[in-house]
């Protein structure tokens, strides 16, 4: 006894059941579009599921070509393989990436099961969901453009599918694309109205679907913590100076301030320090550097700003040590404004001084360390200079391959680093310098952030990459306040952070940048680099105007339109009305074409309309003679008026060559119709 599905399959084989009403060309074009939609998801869903989807596409095309259903066991096998692949790749079915993968694997099965025209429509609709999945993964300009292409292609495929109604090969794709293009152009005003006026909801509504992995810098210093970040060339954030470019070199972007020292390891610590208040911003004051930041998601709560921030966005505050902390983790790209001041008068509270000097008891510290700092005499400034000299003269080298430390104790690590290994990079030197200053009795703390930036002349903004992650120290000097010390600069070979502004003009720095591998290949071709800048600038505007268009930006936009006193919903209602008017105008325009085309028909329609006032309406498809007879049967008195009119119409319509002047005859006919008063 064979199972039920087997007999179903045999029956299908016997009847040669394939895909009804869907031609190979339609099937192929939909599959190409779906494949284009799945390509950007390949790295997210993993190779096995991607392969399953591709297999499903091929199996569908095979079934449509051979007019045979795909055997059910193949479908079940594919389902099994793809579902287990979800588990293999992600280890879970819950979450953003597993969810997308699960959707793609189930979608693959739906593709194989496509049997008729209705299912074709369904699969095409699911293709739109594919766009949404893409959007979860990335929504920058390039992927958005790709999605736009897929969107338009889906529309075109659907349109051609419905245009030939099963008779394949009658409509050239060129025509379909042209028409979709025309539709898109007509739809553009409505899209823009809806986009800019649809009321945006406050942030954090509903379930958070985006689940970006934490990337970039972390909020602690330890050997190796910055190491992997420096190798990461992805974007960290972009900044535009709104009032003036501070023209300083390099930029230090403050991330997190670390208060707790454990030798070579630093953490934020949990001290009840008073956090500074936002300074009232004064827009006209040139002292305040007004920045607009687009921060890529990093999973932490810190918000980057130029050293030192005094005013931040809503839902954020300044922490002790003067850095911006958001109320919620930065899981999505965030657009905000911040104000910074370069020279700030600050006071060191007793509590802060105590924390900034905190070191373990002397007995617990390696003796060599104490011996070293014991040699440094004089005031705090003198000690600081001694420490700088120590790093520049005692054979330290800058390297990204510093190796790991077996020792668990941070102070012993520090001892090993200072007196034996002498190899490290910014995090080692910042941690070591700050710890030594504390041992020497100078209040110190360590800062993690970014240094430098790549100026984009096309967009007027700076791009800061993960590879710009940096760590430095701050020491408190009486009379000077907190002074930034970047100990990495004193180490021979230490990569000095700098703003890559001049790279665009100076050949020397270009060559340098090339050897540093900063921009690589594009440095060789200035035209290509300029193109790169243009693209980045476009991307920036896309982020600013489309991705970052949230409630606050919308309100600003409304205010700039002078709609300050209107409720968002009221504004949207008015916008909807405008959109409706646009649609009505389009409707009129589309219908106007046909009326312009056939003035004779229009006149005849008018004639029928006039007659319909006194007699029944003309039936669809009723010939003029038949209609005339029907009218005359009811109203014989109209014969003298109607007979010549209908005769004239038929002459104009069917034998215009018999007329000497058809144009004049047409206008006579129209006048006669207009004059008719039945």
């Amino acid at each position: 006894m064979s199972p039920g599905w087997m007999s179903t399959y045999r029956r299908r084989l016997a009847h040669g059941e394939g895909v009804e009403g869907v031609g190979f060309r339609d099937g192929l074009s939909l599959m190409i579009v779906l494949f284009a939609g799945i390509i950007p998801l390949a790295s997210t869903v993993g190779i096995p599921v991607f392969a399953c989807f591709t297999t499903a596409i091929l199996l569908f095309l095979r079934s449509i070509r051979r007019r045979r259903a795909t055997p059910p066991f193949l479908r079940y096998a594919l389902l099994l393989v793809s579902l287990s692949s979800v588990w293999l790749v992600h280890g879970s079915f819950v979450g953003m990436e597993p969810g997308v993968t699960l959707f793609v694997s189930l979608f693959a099965i739906k593709v194989i099961e496509l049997r008729n025209r209705r299912e074709y429509q369904t699969v095409a609709s699911l293709g739109f969901f594919l766009l949404l999945c893409n959007l979860f993964i990335s929504s920058d300009l390039s992927s958005s453009l790709w999605q736009g292409v897929v969107f338009i292609s889906l529309c075109a495929v659907l349109q051609r599918f419905h245009a030939d109604a099963g008779e394949e090969g009658t409509i050239p794709m060129r025509l379909v694309l042209r028409r979709v293009g025309a539709m898109l152009m007509m739809a553009t005003p409505v899209i823009l109205i809806l986009f800019f006026f649809f009321p945006r909801l406050p942030q954090g509504f509903g379930m958070q679907l985006f689940h970006k992995q934490t990337t970039g810098m972390s909020d602690e210093l330890s050997p190796g913590s910055v190491e992997e970040v420096v190798a990461d060339g992805s974007l960290a954030f972009r900044v535009r100076f709104l009032n003036h470019d501070p023209k300083m070199a390099p930029f230090y972007w403050r991330g997190v301030v670390l208060w707790q020292s454990q030798g070579l390891e630093w953490t934020r610590g949990s001290y009840a320090l008073e956090h500074p208040r936002f300074l009232r911003r004064r827009g006209s004051d040139q002292q305040f550097i007004h920045q607009e930041v687009i921060l890529e998601p990093h999973g932490g709560r810190w918000l980057l700003a130029l050293d030192q921030p005094v005013y931040g966005p809503e839902h954020s505050r300044l922490e002790a040590g003067r850095y911006l902390l958001s109320r919620s983790p930065v899981d999505q790209r965030r657009l905000y404004e911040a104000f910074s001041v370069v020279d700030l008068d600050e006071q060191l509270s007793a509590m802060e001084r105590e924390v900034a000097l905190k070191v373990p008891a002397r007995e617990k510290l390696p003796p060599r360390l104490l011996e070293l700092v014991g040699q440094w005499k004089g005031d705090d400034r003198a000690k600081m200079i001694e420490a700088q000299r120590f790093f520049s003269t005692k054979g330290f080298t800058y390297t990204l391959e510093s190796g790991s430390y077996d020792n668990r104790n941070g102070w012993r690590m520090l001892d090993e680093f200072l007196f034996e290994r002498k190899r490290g990079f910014c995090s080692h030197y910042a941690a070591a310098f700050s710890s030594l200053m504390r041992l020497a009795g100078v209040p110190a703390r360590a800062i993690i952030g970014y240094a430098g930036g790549d100026f984009n002349p096309a967009g007027g903004f700076y791009s800061i990459y993960q590879s710009d992650a940096h760590a430095w120290s701050e020491v408190w000097l009486e009379g000077e306040g907190w002074v930034r010390i970047d100990p990495t600069r004193y180490v021979p070979g230490g990569a000095e952070p700098r703003n890559r502004v001049e790279a665009a003009t100076s050949e020397e720095s270009e060559a340098e940048a090339f050897t540093n591998g900063q921009a690589g290949f594009t440095q060789q071709f200035p035209a290509l680099r300029r193109l790169g800048y243009q693209w980045a600038a476009l991307n920036y505007r896309w982020t600013l105007w489309v991705l970052g268009y949230d409630r606050d930006v919308q309100r600003q936009f409304f205010n700039s339109l002078g709609l300050r006193h209107f409720h968002t919903v009221a504004i949207f209602g008015a916008a909807l009305l405008v959109a409706g008017l646009v649609m009505a105008a389009l409707w009129w325009w589309l219908m106007r074409w046909r009326q312009r085309e056939e003035p004779l028909l229009r006149a005849y329609r008018q004639l029928c309309k006039r007659l319909a006032e006194v007699t029944p309406e003309r039936r669809p498809g009723e010939t003029p003679s038949a209609y005339r007879e029907r009218v005359l049967a009811l109203r014989p008195d109209l014969r003298p008026a109607l007979d010549p009119l209908f005769a004239q119409y038929q002459l104009l319509r069917y034998a215009p060559w018999k007329l000497e002047d058809p144009k004049a005859a047409l206008s006579t006919f129209r006048e006669a119709v207009a004059a008719l008063r039945p």
Binding site: L132, S144, W545
Partner: protein, 327 residues
């Protein structure tokens, strides 16, 4: 207002529209919950494209006109084995008077052939396309065409636009099905030879008789026609030609079977080239032969009362929102 109501009635949402609604709702939710501009953009692009698509959908059929060029009759389905046509054919002319052409049309006859649809290849702007539609086999009778419905899912399949046309036409004639084993033609009633008709073979001119539709025009008195007289056929005598009366009363049995037997006899006469007349309870036809004569007589059989086919509207598909129970 009535026009708007009619326009709205002719447009209906498809399951594709529901799917689009789901897609847009998901885009909006994603946009709102993630504060993501591109999700909003996708949502609004879909909505706007669908709305513009709606305008195109309406305009696609706004200028369509349908006309029946020709109907070819068929025989009702019988015992099988005959080679006669069972599918009546409609030659339909679909015309687009507009400027942009007409795409993705499907034609349906909701009353005549419920549940069947025929797709029409795209029609160029201001062009006419003729299609021959084979309808499913039907029982004997005269089947009124009823409404011709042109519908289209163009451009995106979200909207179904329908335009009904009621055409003035008698309808499709379905002849009775011939019998595979007909009763023998009764020799006594009029005989295969000799009696019952006028012999028209031979060489001697014996007079004229009125011309009958479908007859060979070889013996028409063209000179008389040229003088404005009605068409007459010259008759010649001397030979022998048989002509039979195919008589309803010669058969006994139930009416439907009698009609089928008569149909078989008529076809047999036509095949043998023998002139014949058909006598039904309503009256008797003149003698004749040829395709037109056969059609006239078969049509009489088809429209013979007794078990006339009464077209019934198909049961409406129940919608999930419909509370009405099917009785």
């Amino acid at each position: 207002m009535a026009k708007v109501r009619e326009a709205l009635r002719s447009v209906s949402l498809t399951s594709g529209a529901l799917q689009l609604g789901a897609v847009v709702a998901t885009f909006l939710y994603a946009g709102a919950s993630q504060n993501n501009g591109s999700a909003y953009l996708l949502a609004f692009s879909s909505v706007a494209i669908a709305a513009v698509g709606g305008l195109f959908a309406w305009r696609n059929l706004a200028e369509v006109n349908v006309r029946i060029v020709d109907l070819s009759p068929a025989y009702a389905e019988g015992d099988g084995g005959e080679t006669l046509p069972h599918s009546p054919q409609i030659r339909l002319s679909v015309r687009d008077l507009g400027r942009r052409g007409c795409y993705g049309c499907r034609v349906a006859f909701p009353e005549l052939a419920p549940g069947s649809q025929w797709s029409i290849p795209p029609i160029a702007p201001s062009a006419t396309r003729e299609v021959v539609l084979s309808l499913p086999p039907m029982p004997r009778g005269l089947h009124p065409i009823g409404t011709v419905q042109v519908e289209s899912l163009y451009p995106f399949g979200f909207l179904r636009v329908r335009r009904p046309f009621s055409l003035d036409h008698d309808g499709i004639v379905i002849y009775p099905a011939p019998l595979l084993n007909p009763p023998p033609f009764p020799a006594s009633s009029s005989g295969w030879e000799g009696s019952g008709g006028v012999s028209a073979r031979g060489d001697d001119f014996i007079g004229v008789r009125p011309y009958q539709l479908g007859e060979s025009q070889r013996h028409v008195d063209w000179k008389a026609v040229a003088r404005g007289h009605p068409m007459k056929v010259k008759q010649f005598g001397g030979g022998t030609e048989t002509a039979n009366l195919v008589d309803w009363d010669a058969l006994s049995g139930e009416p439907e079977w009698k009609l089928r037997a008569l149909c078989t006899w008529l076809l047999e006469h036509e095949r043998l080239g023998i002139r014949y007349a058909l006598k039904l309870p309503g009256g008797e036809s003149p003698f004749g032969k040829g395709a037109a004569h056969l059609h006239q007589q078969l049509r009489r059989l088809a429209t013979f009362p007794g078990a006339p086919f009464t077209p019934t509207a198909p049961p409406r598909r129940r919608r999930w929102w419909s509370k009405r129970r099917a009785s």
